[in-house]
Amino acid sequence: MALDDRKSQFTFVGTSPDRPDGLDKVTGRAKYGADAYAPGMLHGAILRSPHAHARIVKIDTSKAEAHKDVKAVVTRADFAKVPFKPGLEGEFWNVLENVMAGDKALYDGHAVAAVAATSALSARDALKLIDVEYEVLPHVTDVDKAMAPDAPVIREGAADYSVPEGMHPNVVRYHESGHGDVEAGFAEADLVIEDRFVTEATHQGYIEPHACLASLGNDGKGELWCTTQGHWIAQKTCAALLGIETAQLRVSASEIGGGFGGKTTVFIEPVALALSRKANRPVKIVMTRSEVFRATGPTSSASMDVKIGMKKDGTISAAQGVFRLQGGAFPGAPGDLTAMCAFAPYNLTNVKQTGYDVMSNRPKQAAYRAPGAPMAAFAVESVIDEMCNELGLDPVEVRLKNAAHEGTKASFGPRYERIGLVETLEAAKAHPHYSAPLKPGQGRGISCGFWFNHGGETSVSLALSEDGSAQLMVGTPDIGGSRASMALMAAEVLGIPYENIRVTIADTATLGYNDVSHGSRVTYASGLATIKAAHHAVEKLCERAAAKWGIPVDAVKWENGCAVPSGSNAGDFDPMPLADITADMGSTGGPISGHFEATPEGAGVSFGTHIVDAEVDPETGKTSITRYTVIQDAGKAIHPSYVEGQFQGGAAQGIGWALNEEYVYGEDGRLQNSIFLDYRVPVASDLPMIDTVIVEVPNPGHPFGVRGVGETGIVPPLAAIANAVSNAAGVRMRQLPMSPPRILAALKGNG
C-alpha cells in the first residue's frame, strides 16, 4: 500500500465548518474550570502576602483551624521536599516556591497559606484568622534597578552557568549570539541610530480565572480537574510537588476560557491537592480576578538598547541589541528568545544580540504568545522606521530589501528552510490599505514579526466505530477551535464527512503524554499526529479489504473514503466504503484503531507583517486605531475562519499592550491595578474591524504544510502601532504603553 502523507489538493481542509463544541458553548452548558462539582466538595482559598519582599517569621494557623467550617489548613510544610537547582534546571523547585512561599514572600500576592472550608465564604473568612509575622525586606520591581549593584538580592545561587562573572546575583541567565563584525558594519553605514526602549509587563488577560477541583487520598491516588493549556505538565508538576507518582494522578482538562501562555503551568492545583489530601475530601479553588493579576504569570517587562546601521539605499549593514528582561522572583524571563527573535526577519551580515534574564520582586512570569518576541520587534522595528523616515525610504521596500528568505543565515544561527516573510511583505505592498490616503492627524505604521513555533511531545489515538464514524482523542486542550481542525484533517485522510468525526480532549489516564497547547503547536503537531493516526487506521482498513477480496494488501489503495483495488487488480472489485469494512470488523480481525506518538521536529518558523493607521488627539494624547491589517504566513490554513480569528486576536492583544495595558507598581512594591477597571484591555468600542490576509507558504515539516499561527500575530503590533502613533504625533515613542499622559508629555517636549 503506497500512501504519501504529503498533500496539496484538499476536500475538507481549507473549509470553515461549524465547530463541534459550538452548541455547548452558545447554550452555556460547556464545562469550564469553575463549573465542576464533586460530592462532599470543600472550597479552598489562599492567603497572599501583602508585601513585595518579606521574611516569613511565623505563621499561626491555629485560629483558622478552630473555625467551625474549616477542614484543612496548609502551608509549605505540607508539600514535598523538592531539590533546589540554579536557573531553569530546578523548575520544579521554582514552581513549588511560587505556589507556596517558603522562607520568604517574594512578591505582592505570593501565596503563604491556604484553607479548605465547607463554603467559599467561610474559606475567605478563615483566611483572616491566620496570623503571619513578616519581617519586611527591601524590594525591587524594575529591571534596570534590579541589575544595579545596590539592588536587594532576591535569591543567592539562582544564576546558572551562562552568567558572566561579576554580575549582580539577580541576573540569572545570560545569552549572546550573532555573526559577522558589527563594528565593521556600523563603519560602513551611512546612518547609525541607537535608542533605548522600555516595555512594561502585561497580562494575558484570559477571561476565565484559574480554577480547579482536586481530590487526593493518602494512598497517593488522585484526580484533578483544571483549566489548563497542558494537563500532562500539570500532572507531572503536581505529582512532584506533592511527592506522589505521576501515573497515580489523573488530570482532566476542562474547557479552557483563554490561556495565551498563562495556563502553561500550575498555580492553585498543587494547593488544592494538598488541601484535599489533608481534609480527605475534594477541594475546589477558583481564583478571583485580583489573584489572577497579582499571582499568576504576566509577561516580563523589558529595557532594551538597539543600534542599527543602514546604507542610503536601505541596506542594513549591522544590527546590535541588548535586551534586559525581568521575569519576577524566579529564573525564566525569555531574554534569550527576545534576543534570538529580534533581528530574525532580516538577512544580516553583521549582527549581535545579548539577552539578560533578571529576577525582581514580581510574580513569576509566564509565557504570553511568542514570549519575548513582541518587545524585541518593538525596539528593532521602531529603529528601522526611524531610519526609513530619516533616509526618505519606503518602509516596506526597506524590509523587502533586507528580508530573510530560504537559505538566509538567521540572526540566531542556522539557515532558514522555506519561509514566507517576503510573501507577507509583497502582500502588504499590494494591499489597498497600504496605499490608502491618510487623514490629517493620522499616521501609518508597519512592522514585521517572527516566531519560532514548536513541535513537542504528541500522542493521538483514533478509533473507528461499526457504523463508520470515528472518534479521535487528542491531548492538547482546545483553546480556539482546534477540535474542528483536527476533525478536518482526519476527514481529509479517512475520506469520511467532517461531521462523522467526534474529537475529544483525552485525560492523562487515557492517552500518552502530550506537551502543552503552546508554541503554536496544536494544529501543527496534534494535526500531524492526527494525520498519521488516520493513516495508521487506513492501513488496517486496506488490509481488511485486501483479505476480503483475496488480493495482496499492496494492491489496495484508499480513495475518497473507500478501499479501491489498484495495479493489476484495478477495476476487479467495486470500491469498498469505510463503513462496509468497519461493519464486521469485530469478526474480521478485531476493532480498527490508529495511533501515533512522537515528538514532531519540523514546526516551521513563521512571519507576519502588519499595517496599522492611528490617529492621535494632539490636545489630550489619546490614540485611536482607525484601520488594521494583519498579513501572516499560515503555511496552510486548515480552518480559515479560526486562522483569521488567531490573527485578529493577536492584533487586538497587541493594541492593548501598545496603548494601555501595564502592570503599575507603587513605591511599596504592591500591584496597584489588579482589576479590569484599571488593567485596561481593549473593549469592543476601542477597536476597528481587523482585516486579515492569509499567506500560504507550505511548511516542509507538515504533511499538509501547516505552520502554527497562534503566536506570531502578537509580534508586530507593538512596533506597528508605535510607528503609526509616532508618525501621527510627529514624535518618536520609545516606551510602552503609549498611554495618553506619555504621548501628551512627549508632544509637549518633556517626555
Binding site: Y161, K352, P414, Y416, H454, G456, T599, E711
Partner: protein, 81 residues
C-alpha cells in the same frame, strides 16, 4: 565529521571556540560528543538546548539523524506560549 556552531555566549566554556567538530550520526550522539570534548558544555546542555540541522530546528529530540556534512547549530531551548 559534523561542524557544530555554538552560540557566542558559549565561547567562554570552550576556550573561545565557536565551532566544534564532532563525530555524530544523531542529535543525541552529538550532544554526548560535545560534552566529551568540552565538559563545561554539560551546564548549558543539561539546562536544555535545541539543535538546528540544515535549518530544521529540533527542539528536544535526541534521535534525529544528522546527515554527513550538515550544517548544525546549537540553540538555547525554545519555549512557547
Amino acid at each position: 565529521m559534523v561542524e557544530v556552531h555554538l552560540w557566542s555566549g558559549l565561547r567562554s566554556l570552550t576556550g573561545g571556540q565557536q565551532v566544534v567538530e564532532v563525530q555524530a550520526r544523531t542529535t543525541g550522539e552529538l550532544l554526548r560528543e560535545l560534552v566529551r570534548i568540552h565538559p563545561q558544555l554539560k551546564g548549558p546542555i543539561d539546562a536544555g538546548v535545541s539543535i538546528a540541522v540544515d535549518g530544521r530546528v529540533i527542539a528536544t529530540g535526541l534521535t534525529e539523524p544528522i546527515p554527513e556534512g550538515s550544517e548544525v547549530y546549537l540553540m538555547q531551548r525554545l519555549r512557547g506560549g
